[in-house]
């Protein structure tokens, strides 16, 4: 089977940092791949390699069957890129920005103008078409950026954290637009820190951390991969929370997470539930609430990435920061 995007063992170092430490992924034509990971995981660096902006130190990548290093120009004919920062010229109007891209792609003046008008209408920017982009709201800029990446009818589209920093309404709007593109058959590689976003948009998900792929599959597969189920229980008496936690930890071998009197612990299968009830009963802990449910993608993600506290601004662009050191 031919893939629209295929990367094998990509390595990229920035000084001492290994931004990519052997990333491999593959996207069949017309599918949406979600690349999920915390800040600094290597998501942006992966996109920059696949968009021919930087060369990998090791490994290979093919886009549309073309090597990103040796046949960069051919790759660039197929792709559209929407960056984490809106890559639009703030001094130009919406129309001028899109016409500029159209002209660079070889459209005639009239052709570029027509394509710009079409995209401005589709992305609800028509009324703002003659305003400089610097006056646009964050959501409008993202939409203009997305429109700019679509001028040349790319068959492969990279969306690098397209909704970071957007309000929920703009986010939903952008999601609809991405779904529309996927329905048109565009292959999409989408990076995101939002599990919900990957769950909503992606056919398949690759989880990366520290420059490595640590899990991959559909969101259901990922949920099943890490135990699959979560046991939640709440002792009747607040004072018995610690005792209950100790009992559960001893029985299951992993310490439950305690949040305001509620104990949460991943369990391998449903047989754990009666065992927990018996053990708590033996210990004399009265249980007020008890439930077994499917793990959320959040829990899967935290289990995979080691449940570390992440600091730093959500909009930080790992690739750029490392590169400019």
């Amino acid at each position: 089977m031919t893939y629209a995007i295929r990367a094998e063992g990509l390595v990229k170092r920035f000084g001492e940092t290994r931004a990519l430490d052997g990333v491999s992924l593959a996207v069949p034509p017309g599918r949406v791949l979600g690349v999920l990971g915390p800040n600094g995981a290597g998501k942006t660096t992966t996109v920059r390699v696949l968009a021919t902006l930087i060369r990998p130190d090791a490994g290979t990548a093919e886009v549309g069957g073309h090597d990103v290093v040796r046949e960069g120009h051919r790759v660039r004919r197929l792709i559209g890129l929407t960056g984490q920062y809106a890559g639009v010229d703030e001094m130009l109007t919406g129309t001028e920005n899109l016409m500029l891209i159209g002209r660079l792609l070889g459209l005639s003046r009239a052709g570029a103008r027509a394509r710009a008008a079409e995209l401005l209408r589709r992305f609800e920017l028509w009324d703002a078409r003659d305003r400089a982009a610097k006056t646009f709201s964050g959501g409008m800029r993202r939409r203009l950026d997305l429109a700019a990446s679509l001028v040349g009818h790319p068959s492969i589209l990279y969306l690098d954290e397209p909704t970071t920093g957007l309000d929920p309404r703009s986010r939903n709007g952008l999601w609809d637009m991405v779904r529309g593109l996927a329905e048109d058959g565009v292959t999409v590689l989408l990076t995101t820190q939002y599990l919900e976003e990957a769950d909503q948009l992606a056919d398949e998900i690759v989880v990366i951390d520290h420059g490595r792929v640590i899990a991959e599959g559909t969101s259901d597969q990922l949920k099943a991969q890490t135990g699959g189920q979560v046991l939640e229980l709440r002792p009747v008496h607040e004072a018995e929370v610690d005792k209950a936690a100790l009992v559960v930890a001893e029985l299951l071998g992993s310490a439950p997470e305690v949040n305001q009197g509620l104990l949460t612990v991943p369990v391998g299968d449903s047989r754990a539930m009666p065992a927990v009830v018996r053990a708590l009963d033996d210990a004399g802990v009265a249980v007020g609430e008890l439930s077994l449910r499917k793990a959320s993608l959040d829990e899967v993600f935290f289990a995979l990435t080691g449940n570390r506290e992440r600091t730093g601004s959500p909009a930080a662009d790992e690739g750029r920061e490392e590169a400019s050191v």
Partner: protein, 272 residues
């Protein structure tokens, strides 16, 4: 939009851009550099009001005390202001590049199937147009208040070309600052702290007088490349020695290119 990438279609994709396409890319990006002015009136101020202001201030405030009269000072100061102004204008190359890189515009250009050098060459071409405009403004204001071009069209053309050669190479310094600075403001700070002393410690506005310390006088008249440029411009516009100063100016331009172009390319690769 196509769902698949048929092998046949992919095979006919060209490997590179043709020279004609490359030229079109450069012109399109130069157009973009000029359209920006429309939405950023400050740039027009830099390019027009500032030169007018300098010509009037220097001529009427310093002219009488330096050369005895405004009319006698104009042949000294107009070429000097042309040189200083061109250095300031060359700052916009680095400034624009910095903004493009930090805002992600450069990444977008580099992800397009265009000539690799087009973004840089387009910007430079736009700056050439801006340089020409700004030199014209100084000359017109100068002529209005009494400056006379003693040489002719060829002299003016020669002055413009020499100015262009020098400032295009000088621009690489600002490009380097633009590539390494984290934001546009730092590029501007560099501009003012480097270009002001460089132009004031030259013979652009004054001919060093008796009281000037010897070492400073040597720097101001012989060493500072801005002085060589200014002297050559004076020769080309109002008459006087040209060849030697023009050659030294061009040598300086070559040195700047030899030092800063490789540094810029290195910084560019690091940055991206």
């Amino acid at each position: 939009m196509t769902a698949t990438i048929p092998a046949a279609q992919a095979a006919v994709l060209p490997r590179k851009v043709t020279p004609v396409t490359a030229l079109r890319n450069v012109l399109t990006l130069a157009w973009r550099g000029l359209v920006q002015i429309k939405h950023n009136p400050m740039e027009l101020v830099d390019l027009s009001i500032q030169p007018i202001m300098f010509v009037l201030l220097f001529s009427y405030v310093f002219g009488p005390s330096i050369s005895g009269s405004v009319a006698a000072y104009l042949p000294v100061v107009i070429p000097g202001i042309i040189a200083q102004n061109a250095l300031f204008a060359s700052m916009s190359t680095g400034l624009g590049l910095n903004v493009d890189i930090t805002k992600g515009v450069f990444d977008r250009f580099r992800s397009l199937p265009i000539a690799r050098t087009a973004p840089l060459l387009g910007r430079i071409l736009a700056d050439v147009v801006k340089q020409a405009w700004s030199m014209l403004v100084v000359l017109v204001v100068g002529v209005v208040i009494g400056f006379r071009i003693e040489t002719g069209v060829l002299g003016v053309l020669g002055a413009f070309l020499l100015l262009l050669a020098f400032t295009l190479m000088f621009a690489w310094i600002t490009v380097l600052v633009g590539l390494t600075a984290s934001d546009a403001e730092k590029v501007q700070v560099f501009g003012f702290t480097a270009i002001f002393p460089l132009t004031f410690l030259s013979n652009a506005f004054v001919v060093p007088a008796e009281g000037t310390p010897g070492w400073l006088k040597t720097f101001m008249t012989d060493i500072n490349p801005v002085s060589q440029l200014t002297t050559a411009l004076r020769g080309l516009l109002v008459g006087g020695p040209v060849l030697q100063h023009a050659l030294i100016t061009l040598a300086w331009a070559a040195v700047m290119a030899a030092v800063f172009i490789p540094l810029c390319l290195r910084a560019f690769r690091r940055r991206t």
